[in-house]
């Protein structure tokens, strides 16, 4: 019988990093110590713990990382709570890659990019950010606007400060929701921060975060003069198969798992608001 994508492979967790109080980043390789499969930034994988459940997670690491894949996962349900209890060496199952990914080789190529992320929304964008940083010659400048509830909730803070902020051609603007001791950066929500910063209108935008943040940020950006057709986002709905057959992750006639998870806002404007 042909190979069945629904039957997963075994992955080994080789490193666990506590990013924030409720976000951990897991490093995963196959039993042979190599990457389980190759992916495009923005694509996802189904991770599972047999007996607990299976879920779709965006691959946080860039494909330019040839050694392993990383997943930044927020503890919020049954499966993610189990994943958060794991120790290094634990095996899980993995299958993928799924979804379309960001158009890094077409629409994004040669463009100045603006990344806007809120909270764990940085996870799928981190893959693109590091991909673009590794292939600088193919892209213009990079502007990153990232915010979280507090200083402690900024995912990948170490990487942001030590690598992104020191990278030529990359501008990083951080914000947290409320004032906090030890924080001398911007304080305020992302939508208003973006309006204050007035990013360059020629940039192609990639945005990810809580739905409410995306909604208000997009409204503000439209006021600034951005068009829906220059803004990409990545979606997340309940999935079982990840290949457009189990029938639950649709938005209108599109399945998030196979037609997405990356959509342009002008495409979403033609679909029901069920996300």
């Amino acid at each position: 019988m042909r190979e069945e994508t629904l039957i997963p492979k075994v992955g080994v967790v080789t490193d666990i990093r506590q990013d924030t109080p409720d976000v951990k980043t897991f490093r995963v390789v196959g039993l042979d110590g190599k990457k389980v499969f190759e992916h495009i930034p923005g694509q996802c994988a189904m991770l599972s713990v047999p007996g607990v459940g299976e879920g779709m997670f965006s691959i946080t690491s860039s494909p330019t990382n040839i050694e392993f894949m990383e997943f930044s996962i927020k503890k919020c349900g049954c499966l993610t709570s189990w994943l958060h209890m794991m120790e290094v060496g634990q095996q899980i199952t993995i299958r993928g890659p799924y979804g379309n990914g960001f158009p890094v080789e077409s629409d994004l190529k040669g463009k100045d990019l603006l990344f806007i992320a809120g909270g764990i929304g940085l996870a799928p964008l981190r893959s693109v950010i590091n991909y673009v940083r590794d292939k600088k010659e193919n892209y213009g400048s990079v502007h990153i606007i990232y915010g979280s509830r507090s200083m402690d909730d900024l995912v990948d803070y170490k990487e942001i400060i030590e690598e992104w902020c020191t990278d030529a051609g990359v501008t990083v603007d951080l914000t947290i929701d409320r004032p906090q001791e030890g924080w001398d950066g911007h304080v305020g929500f992302i939508p208003s921060f973006v309006e204050e910063l007035k990013p360059d209108l020629s940039r192609t935008v990639l945005i990810c975060g809580p739905p409410i943040m995306i909604k208000f940020t997009l409204d503000g950006m439209k006021k600034l003069g951005f068009k829906e057709s220059q803004v990409f986002t990545t979606m997340e709905l309940r999935m079982k198969c990840a290949i457009g057959k189990c029938g639950r992750c649709n938005i209108g006639n599109k399945y998030v798992c196979k037609d997405g998870p990356v959509f342009r806002f002008d495409q979403l404007a033609e679909l029901p608001d069920e996300y």
Binding site: M1, V10, P50, G51, G53, C246, E274
Partner: protein, 337 residues
């Protein structure tokens, strides 16, 4: 075309069943019919249709997918798939035969679902023209001809004979292997077909047409103010999805067998509140949204993605099963208006 006398049908069934499992509609003891494996003495039911659709043969209600052995931190994935044995399904109606094409467009699309493909490859479909279409039948609305059902072999019943015509190579091979069949004129089924067509023309839903479902945009249908009234009394029981031959949604779950974990899939329903429930919330919190999803899928989303083919075959099962007498015909009529 081939023929056999009706009083020799058991001989035919026995000959087919000698080399593979033969399923056929039999009386279910509840004034209906159900598919069952043929055994000596079984009586073919000529009921209008089976209560459950024929999708179970290719997409069973529950099926194992893979198992896992878990020891400490280690996991072993065990591929539990097995090649299905050949089987024949006799007496499939034209509507259910068409439903296989709709299921194919989902499960055989890349990446192919190997569980479904395996069963499709090993199953042979013998359809039966509908001598007795009922008031709840509306397959003709979707371009299905109940007098000329598809499948690997099409069959017709006259007063005295069973007529069989091969539609595929697989069907041809089976007919050639059945030595008790005699040759029949190509026109032998014409009178039966004409009689069926005349009944079809008089059915209450004979003039139903889905053309109105092509006149408006996806967003116009989605935003229709009719959904509130249509869905108001829906109980969310999901019966319509379970009896539907084209409903193909499934859930994947794990089961602790005591010495490992079995991952299986089972039918699921968009009518259920946990269908879209995520750890962070639910995208369809009201029964209106869930009801709308089911009908939008069959009448708008599926056709949009499949060259205008509707995701309904007019079998009428939902009409007969719904506890509050709601059905896709009422939805179509309301949305078109």
């Amino acid at each position: 075309m081939k023929k056999i006398s009706l009083d020799k049908m058991n001989e035919l069934f026995a000959a087919i069943a000698a080399s593979q499992t033969l399923y056929l509609p039999v009386d279910d003891g509840k004034k209906g019919a159900k598919f069952d494996a043929w055994k000596e003495g079984a009586v073919y039911s000529t009921a209008a249709n089976t209560s459950r659709s024929a999708k179970d043969f290719f997409f069973p209600q529950v099926e194992d997918m893979a198992s896992f052995k878990v020891e400490g931190k280690e996991i072993e994935v065990i591929d539990t798939r097995e090649e299905t044995e050949d089987f024949v399904v006799f007496g499939v109606r034209a509507c259910d035969a068409k439903s296989f094409e709709i299921l194919d467009s989902v499960y055989l699309a890349d990446p192919v679902d190997s569980y479904y493909e395996n069963r499709r490859q090993h199953g042979l479909i013998m359809t039966m023209a509908c001598n007795k279409p009922t008031d709840t039948c509306f397959c003709s609305a979707f371009g299905i001809d109940a007098a000329n059902p598809a499948g690997d072999i099409s069959c017709w019943m006259t007063d005295s004979e069973l007529l069989l015509e091969a539609c595929t190579e697989k069907g041809e091979a089976l007919l050639n292997a059945l030595s008790m069949l005699e040759d029949a004129d190509a026109s032998a089924a014409d009178d039966t077909k004409a009689a069926i067509k005349s009944i079809l023309g008089k059915l209450p839903l004979a003039n139903l047409s889905p053309d109105g479902m092509k006149q408006k945009s996806l967003m116009e249908f989605f935003g229709s103010d009719k959904w509130a009234e249509l869905s108001e009394s829906c109980l969310g029981c999901g019966t319509c999805t379970f009896v539907c031959p084209t409903c193909q949604c499934y859930d994947i779950r794990d089961y602790d067998t005591g010495h490992g974990v079995m991952r299986y899939r089972c039918w699921d329903s968009c009518m259920y509140s946990d269908f879209t429930l995520c750890a962070h919330g639910n995208t369809r919190t009201t029964q209106l949204q869930r009801f709308r999803q089911r009908f939008m899928h069959k009448l708008v989303y599926y056709p949009d993605n499949n060259n205008g083919v509707f995701g309904c075959v007019g079998c009428g099962r939902c009409m007969r099963s719904c506890p509050i007498s709601m059905n896709i015909v009422k939805v179509m009529k309301a949305l078109e208006g």
